[in-house]
């Protein structure tokens, strides 16, 4: 049995690897090195390696990634705090729900990136505007997931606690909240992906550093190597932070195995 499993894994590796290799080779052949709007895979690789130490504009590739991540960090944490609090308020208090939910539903369909011009008008072209846009991007999933989780807590758990004489406040902290946490994590992951996508968009619209800025500059300079390098960094970083989130979830809520 074990032999069969490793055979399949080898097959996957060979087929998949061959396909990627073939893709890279064809790409390399089709493009003349040094041409205007196109770059070969080798040129892209060269660009990345070169700019790990030398600067692209104001900082190295690490620097740009750092800038983007720091913006995500600020907006994300603010969104988590505000979003979870709002969702809990809306789920626990009927009055809050009636007042706030329609407003939320009104603003929800507007894509975070559509807030960019308004954010720039309100907050200028520096960091505050970007924090705001990322906040909007991450806020919605936090609110929606936390709210859904809070509303769907198993009534039987609450009833059982009530029956045993638990005061309402304790019910909230010991029964409702732990039941919601897995759902909050689900929202946190979606929010993180959204935040990462939004920061790229915000940086492309108006910035002086960051990975979004880097690929935009590449477009302006017709430097495809820079663009593709930036895209690679964006993809890898996005993948890593998502994996980090999943790892955190696995270890922080050991008591619950959520269906993937």
């Amino acid at each position: 049995m074990k032999k069969r499993k490793t055979n399949i894994q080898w097959e996957r590796l060979i087929y998949g690897g061959a396909a990627i290799l073939l893709f890279l080779v064809i790409w390399q052949i089709l493009v003349k090195p040094g041409s205007a709007k196109f770059a070969t895979p080798l040129e892209v690789g060269e660009f990345i390696l070169q700019h790990i130490t030398t600067k692209v504009g104001p900082c190295t590739i690490w620097g740009h990634a750092g800038w983007s991540l720091s913006r995500v960090g600020v907006g994300y944490i603010l969104a988590a705090a505000a979003g979870i609090v709002l969702a809990l308020l809306m789920s626990q208090s009927k009055v809050c729900n009636i007042i706030l939910h329609p407003l939320f539903d009104l603003l929800r369909p507007i894509p975070p990136i559509a807030w960019v011009p308004l954010a720039i008008l309100w907050f200028g072209i520096f960091e505050k505007a970007k924090y705001f846009i990322i906040f909007i991007g991450a806020f919605v999933p936090f609110v929606m997931n936390t709210y859904t989780g809070a509303v769907r807590v198993d009534k039987k758990l609450i009833d059982a606690a009530l029956m045993l004489g638990t005061p309402p406040r304790t019910i909230f902290f010991r029964v409702v909240f732990p039941a919601i946490v897995p759902q909050i994590f689900a929202g946190a992951q979606v929010a993180l992906t959204n935040a990462w996508m939004t920061v790229i968009g915000a940086e492309m619209a108006r910035a002086t550093e960051g990975v979004g800025w880097m690929i935009l500059k590449g477009m302006e300079n017709a430097d495809m190597a820079q663009i593709v390098s930036g895209m690679a960094v964006i993809g890898v970083t996005g993948f890593l932070i998502a994996a980090l989130m999943r790892w955190l979830e696995k270890h922080l809520i050991k008591w619950n195995v959520r269906e993937r």
């Binding site: 998949g16 407003l103 894509p111 990136i113 011009p117 308004l118 720039i120 008008l121 495809m224 663009i227």
Partner: protein
């Protein structure tokens, strides 16, 4: 009883929105607490909306043209993306060899957010219709393929065995068991694909376009017209919502009788 409660809730929702608008209006027009060029009153926003229906300033087109332009781009990209993405996803789920070969490439492309493709598409294809449609196409393709793939791989093995026992060919298995099982997931993919596509489109228009709603709000910012920006944002939101609801109805029609 329940119906009355629902009507009550709807009335309260409307009252809440009305209250919000009233507060907004009070803050801006009546008490003048905010800088009205940055924070226009709802009355100004409404007036701008009506005005933009016929006024081509300051970006060169009336609201209707922008809306049509955005819809056209989304339509082309969406249509092409689903047309190619769904069969691709089905093939990915159905044919093992195909999956083993193509999946890693697909996964790599998938990790890059659609917005990050905008610069490279603009570099290659310019700032016209083709580049914007290409970005929408890519976004929708990925979403449709992924969901079709998930749909096919969620086929109940028992159904497959039943079909095989009765002597169905591979092709029949695909069409009678595989695809019907995948339809709900495909519908989910259609909806998710649209929402991401609408977002990508706004992003693409913000950066490189000469018409469209994203372009309109970008130009409005350049001219410091916060009222026009808000009109644009609300239009984007409303149209996105309306099309989303249409897709919801489409899903209900397509999955009638399924559990």
């Amino acid at each position: 009883m329940k119906k009355r409660q629902k009507i009550k809730e709807k009335i309260f929702s409307l009252l809440s929105i009305a209250g919000f608008l009233a507060c907004w209006w009070l803050i801006t027009d009546v008490f003048q607490l905010a800088n009205t060029s940055l924070f226009p009153s709802p009355v100004t926003v409404f007036e701008t909306f009506v005005d933009k229906l016929t006024n081509a300033n300051p970006d060169g087109n009336i609201l209707g043209v922008h809306i049509l332009n955005s819809l056209l781009v989304v339509g082309i990209g969406y249509f092409a993306g689903t047309l190619l993405g769904i069969p691709f996803g089905i093939a990915l789920g159905w044919y093992k060899k195909f999956e083993m070969t193509v999946r890693p490439l697909f996964d790599i492309i998938r990790t890059i957010p659609p917005i990050a493709w905008i610069p490279i598409f603009i570099l290659w294809l310019g700032i016209g219709l083709i580049a914007k449609s290409a970005i929408v196409f890519l976004t929708v393709f990925i979403a449709a393929a992924l969901n079709a793939y998930t749909g096919i791989t969620s086929i109940n093995p028992v159904h497959m065995w039943a079909g095989q026992t009765m002597g169905a060919s591979n092709w029949q298995l695909l069409w009678k068991i595989g695809i019907p099982t995948a339809v709900p997931m495909i519908c989910t993919g259609l909806k998710i694909g649209f929402n991401t596509a609408w977002t990508s489109l706004v992003g693409a228009e913000l950066l490189g376009a000469t018409e469209g709603l994203g372009y309109m709000i970008q130009m409005a910012r350049v001219y410091c017209r916060a009222d026009l920006v808000i009109v644009g944002m609300l239009t984007i939101g409303v149209i996105g919502l309306v099309l989303s609801i249409i897709l919801d109805y489409l899903e209900i029609i397509l999955t009638k009788g399924r559990y």
